[in-house]
């Protein structure tokens, strides 16, 4: 006869699981929490990014209204308004609406913040806009019921009437019918608030005035920054674009909704992906902790599982048991993580904004956008991390020979078994190779794969590494019994040590890698700030500028040793890339390094060709090299320029181009400069110099110029740097806390599993305090091995972050700097935590009766 094959007993599974969880709720909770934290971080970052992206898209839609197509100027200088009639008559165009677009600010005087902020001021022709972009027509408070579509309120013809978006109205602190003062292009004008742009996104600050007023009052006569276009019915968009392109000057570009979306996406893609990857790394750490918890649980229950096998539970039943346990831990953790992530996202959006301190969407608080698919994906990821973490322990449980395992009532480690290194070495080698592969779609995916493989390799190599590190300590017996016992134990059971270290090595190495990368970047930024801001005092004006006569006057002011004037303005090289910054300043074409922090070789421009120097991100983003030529759209024409070198820049991630001031003025006719940096004469304080210079400025300009001490600027820049890495620091801290929780849980489990051993030691005369000392020594040694492994692995991973992930994501490089103080604190904390948790767990294990401990079978 043969026995009947029956489905797995759910009752048996449930009894075993509930019993285990009831017996060790802390361990299960730690594993679930680890998954929850990973899922929460990932989901929160995703929600925040999604909400910020949505806000950005809404903002773009609001500013661009609902035009089918737009023509934008390459720089804020605008293009000649003669382009407007030419485009309006182009084939396939039903209507065109000219637009003046300026950055503006409420009130008089300089901005209170270094970053500026403010609102977008649009000048429109109401009759034209009614046909192309009706949403830009304000809805007056008096006639609020009549909506915007097609209706042109009378107030828009009033040259001093202004319509504000709800956010701008709130920021102004005014109501419809009241007056508001605006400063733009160096001029301050008061308007009457005539209406509200009710269809603007909730956070976007926009103001709309009459185009003639904008041109007249803000010095933009004859210039436009934008033309909005509506296609004729049935027109072929591609054909229309081709026809328009033929009519465009070099300093104008066609912009579509798609290219705008791409531009917004490109602006923040690397930052978003990096944060999501960090969150996934946290999830990976969670997976390691589940592995750690499940491995210990399986090791401890080996005889129980053997009994079940003897009593008739099939191999797959045992596999299912451990797997289902992992799945439930993962499922509970993932659900908890989703709820936690939602809370974190809400809180972060409220307190940090949509860019998590990254500085991309400054000043906005996006509405939270929740979609079910990402929630499902992060749930599955959490579940998968737990299942993968349970896979090896489950297989080990199912593989064990029940007859032997049933007899295994003690520690069955074979000290003579040599731990294999090839798995770990193989993964580490694969990780190293992956680091050399190029970016995919501008993202360092292989860089992250490399880090993941290194992490897995480092953890897989732990038994071997623990044996290697402890071997030198093993020599002849010392007089200190407890230390000898501790070393022999760890040396003889490196696999168990590795399980304990798994979570901590994962989280420590990630933390070390991030800390090295951040320290390197911060150090490089600090050096760069010293290069770029060597002077004592800076001053700038947001709009308008200093003409040559005024510059000469300021340069000759008493107390001023030397002065460097410059101007920065955005330039669009491609419609689907964020604009780069043109940095206009005196640069010696023979010695550019005098004024710019150059990297690598420089090249001399041929006679008659204008040299420019590209920032490192610009060179990487646009794939340009020293000695090449490129087209720069400036001043109504396109100029061929020569790339004379690459300079380091950490401020402008979208790239920057430096150009000598004389060349810029020659190409554009613009001889105004907006910023200046001063070296002060010995004994002159910044405050004295500020007073002197302000007195020299003409009255309208004097009210708008901002003065900064360079020292303050550096401090502010580093403060901004730190705030942009706030989330990174938070992730690091969480990773290390989760790792330490894992160590505590692991030590506790391993120590409790050795109750019998301690009972035996007490029987043969080892004092309770000696057992405690032995455990403390074991914990400290384990912590030390964790520190060495975590540091080594973290340093290797940091090199991938520094030399692969950062250049591929953010297009900048840096020199490695080691935060030795942090390493020392980390080492002390881990060794202390190892010893401390081992002792705490030991106190519990030793609290029972030694005789009973030895007699006990389970």
């Amino acid at each position: 006869m043969t026995a009947e094959r029956r489905p797995l007993s759910r009752t048996a599974l449930a009894w075993m699981m509930v019993g285990e969880w009831r017996a060790h709720p802390g361990r299960v909770a730690t594993a679930a929490l680890a998954i929850a934290i990973g899922v929460a971080l990932g989901f929160a970052v995703h929600l925040i990014n999604g909400s910020a992206q949505n806000e950005l898209a809404q903002a773009v839609r609001t500013v661009n209204a609902d035009a089918d197509l737009q023509v934008h100027s390459s720089t804020p200088l605008g293009f000649d308004e003669g382009l407007y009639p030419s485009l309006a008559r182009a084939p396939g165009i039903a209507a065109a609406s000219p637009v003046v677009e300026l950055r503006a600010r409420f009130g008089v005087g300089p901005s209170q913040s270094l970053e500026g902020g403010g609102l977008t001021l649009l000048g429109i022709d109401p009759l034209r806009a009614a046909a192309v972009t009706p949403t830009l027509l304000g809805r007056g408070a008096v006639r609020a019921a009549e909506g915007a579509g097609g209706f042109v309120p009378e107030s828009v013809f009033d040259p001093r009437a202004i319509a504000l978006s709800p956010a701008a109205l709130a920021a102004s602190g005014r109501k419809v019918g009241e007056t508001v003062t605006l400063t733009a292009a160096g001029r301050t004008v008061t308007f009457g608030v005539a209406g509200v742009l009710s269809q603007a996104s909730s956070e976007q600050q926009i103001a709309v005035i009459d185009i003639a007023t904008a041109q007249w009052l803000f010095g933009s006569l004859g210039r436009l920054q934008r033309i909005d276009l509506k296609f004729a019915p049935g027109a072929d968009p591609q054909a229309v674009q081709a026809a328009l392109r033929a009519r465009l000057p070099a300093d104008a570009q066609i912009v579509t909704a798609q290219s705008e979306a791409r531009r917004g996406d490109n602006l923040t893609k690397a930052y978003r992906v990096n944060l999501e990857m960090l969150a996934l790394m946290a999830l990976l750490t969670g997976g390691f902790l589940v592995y750690s918890a499940q491995s210990l649980s399986v090791a401890r229950r080996r005889p129980q599982f053997a009994l079940l096998r003897v009593l008739g539970l099939e191999r797959r039943g045992l596999l299912a048991q451990v797997f289902v346990e992992g799945a439930l831990v993962g499922g509970v953790g993932a659900v908890l993580g989703l709820a936690l992530g939602l809370g974190v996202a809400v809180g972060t959006l409220k307190f940090l904004g949509g860019d998590l301190g990254g500085g991309y969407f400054r000043g906005t608080t996006p509405d939270l956008v929740i979609t079910p698919l990402p929630a499902l994906i992060f749930f599955v990821l959490g579940l998968a991390a737990a299942l993968i973490g349970s896979l090896l322990p489950a297989m080990e449980a199912a593989r064990a020979q029940p007859g032997i395992a049933l007899k295994d009532i003690g520690d069955r480690n074979d000290p003579d078994a040599r731990p294999a290194a090839w798995w770990g070495v193989g993964l580490l080698a694969a990780g190293t190779l992956a680091a050399f592969l190029p970016a995919i779609g501008g993202l360092p995916l292989f860089g992250y794969l490399s880090i993941g493989l290194m992490l897995a390799g480092g953890v897989a190599a732990m038994p071997w590494l623990a044996r290697v590190l402890l071997s030198p300590l093993r020599g002849p017996a010392r007089r200190v019994l407890v230390l000898d016992l501790a070393i022999q134990r760890l040396w003889g059971a490196p696999a168990q040590a590795a399980v304990a270290l798994c979570g901590i090595v994962a989280s420590t190495s990630l933390m070390v890698a991030m800390a090295v990368m951040v320290a390197s970047l911060r150090g490089s930024v600090d050096d760069w700030l010293n290069d770029i801001l060597p002077s004592d005092l800076l001053f700038r004006v947001e709009s308008g500028g200093f003409d040559p006569a005024l510059r000469a006057k300021l340069a000759a002011a008493p107390g001023v040793d030397a002065v460097l004037f410059q101007k920065t303005l955005p330039v669009r090289l491609s419609p689907d890339m964020p604009p780069l910054i043109l940095l206009v300043r005196p640069v010696d074409r023979d010695q550019p390094a005098d004024k710019l922090p150059m990297i690598g070789a420089v090249a001399q421009a041929p006679a008659g060709v204008t040299p420019v120097w590209l920032s490192e991100p610009a060179a990487r983003l646009y794939g340009r090299k020293v000695g090449e030529r490129m087209i720069l759209p400036l001043g109504g024409g396109s100029s061929q320029v020569f790339i004379g070198g690459i300079w380091r820049d950490y401020a402008r991630q979208a790239g920057a181009i430096a150009m000598d001031g004389a060349d810029y003025t020659r190409l554009t006719g613009d001889d105004l400069r907006t910023e200046a940096s001063l070296d002060l004469a010995p004994g002159v304080t910044p405050a004295q110099a500020t007073r002197t210079l302000r007195a020299l400025l003409p009255a309208p300009l004097a009210a708008q110029v901002q003065f900064f001490e360079t020292r303050q600027m550096r401090a502010l820049a580093l403060r901004l740097f730190d705030s942009s890495f706030a989330l990174t620091y938070a992730l690091e801290a969480i990773a290390i806390v989760v790792g330490l929780a894992g160590v505590a849980a692991t030590f506790s489990a391993q120590t409790l599993a050795r109750t019998k051993e301690f009972g035996m030691l007490r029987h043969v005369g080892v004092l309770r305090r000696q057992v405690m000392a032995m455990l403390a020594a074991e914990g400290a040694l384990l912590g030390a091995v964790g520190v060495i492994a975590g540091l080594g692995l973290g340093l290797a991973m940091s090199q991938v972050l520094i030399h692969v992930v950062n250049p591929q994501s953010f297009h900048w490089t840096m020199e490695t700097r080691l935060p030795l103080g942090l390493f020392a604190s980390l080492a002390v904390a881990l060794v202390a935590a190892g010893a401390g948790t081992a002792v705490l767990a030991g106190r519990r294990a030793l609290s029972g009766d030694a005789v009973r401990a030895v007699r006990e079978d389970w």
């Binding site: 026995a3 009947e4 094959r5 029956r6 489905p7 048996a12 019993g19």
Partner: protein
């Protein structure tokens, strides 16, 4: 299968340990339904290994093990596991009760592994606990019991699913003589009451005395045991 067919049949069984030392070879044994056979022998002679071979937990180097006419060698691991689940009960020297389950759940475990509904399994287990003198202890956990009580529970677990064969490995090895005697009496009464056959591995002459047959395991196989 006729009524007189042996529950257990061992034919020319051979087993060696890693390193090549032969534990036994040419071992033959037939156990009839309801028969209790004691197996004695020195430490390390392979008594527990013999039980493992009978249970399909270990593989013989040669020969055949058949339970109720089914040769274990013809079954894969799952097949042997299912045979164990349905036809064999186990009693161990170290009791091997699961500490986080109640006594009733421990006893009911073989039934729930056979997919008997949990309520029914627990009811049958509780009834058996009553029968072996552990009335009203069904919801206690193993940590609350003495050694003798633990072995009673283990005995109940070995019989609850009405196995054809009970394998007992030193069931009184951890107990004092008085408790051991009571457990042996209970063991014999219950095994006979359930109509099962049993192999009782023991060092104890007193334990062996309760069996129908007493054999000694030697390198040449099982030989009839003689006192002294």
């Amino acid at each position: 299968m006729s009524a007189s067919s042996p529950v257990l049949s061992l034919t020319a069984l051979r087993k060696s340990v890693p390193g090549g030392r032969v534990l036994f070879e040419g071992l033959d044994l037939q156990v009839a339904p309801g028969e209790i056979v004691a197996v004695m022998g020195e430490s390390g002679v392979g008594k527990s290994t013999l039980l493992n071979l009978i249970a399909g937990l270990d593989q013989a180097d040669g020969g055949q093990v058949a339970i109720d006419g089914t040769a274990l060698q013809s079954l894969d691991d799952d097949g042997r596991t299912r045979l164990r689940r349905d036809r064999i009960g186990f009693v161990f020297q170290a009791f091997h009760l699961l500490p986080h389950l109640t006594l009733a759940q421990n006893v009911a475990l073989p039934l729930v592994l056979q997919s008997v509904e949990a309520g029914e399994a627990t009811r049958r287990a509780t009834a058996l606990l009553d029968a072996i003198g552990l009335t009203r202890r069904a919801n206690d956990r193993p940590a609350q019991l003495s050694g003798g009580e633990l072995q009673r529970v283990a005995l109940a677990r070995a019989l609850v699913h009405r196995p054809a064969l009970v394998l007992a490995d030193e069931p009184t090895g951890n107990l004092d003589p008085e408790t051991a005697a009571r457990i042996l009496d209970l063991f014999v009464a219950q095994v006979r009451g359930f109509g099962a056959a049993a192999i009782l591995v023991t060092h104890s002459e007193r334990a062996a005395a309760v069996a129908d047959r007493s054999l000694t395991l030697t390198r040449e196989g099982l030989v009839a045991h003689h006192d002294g």
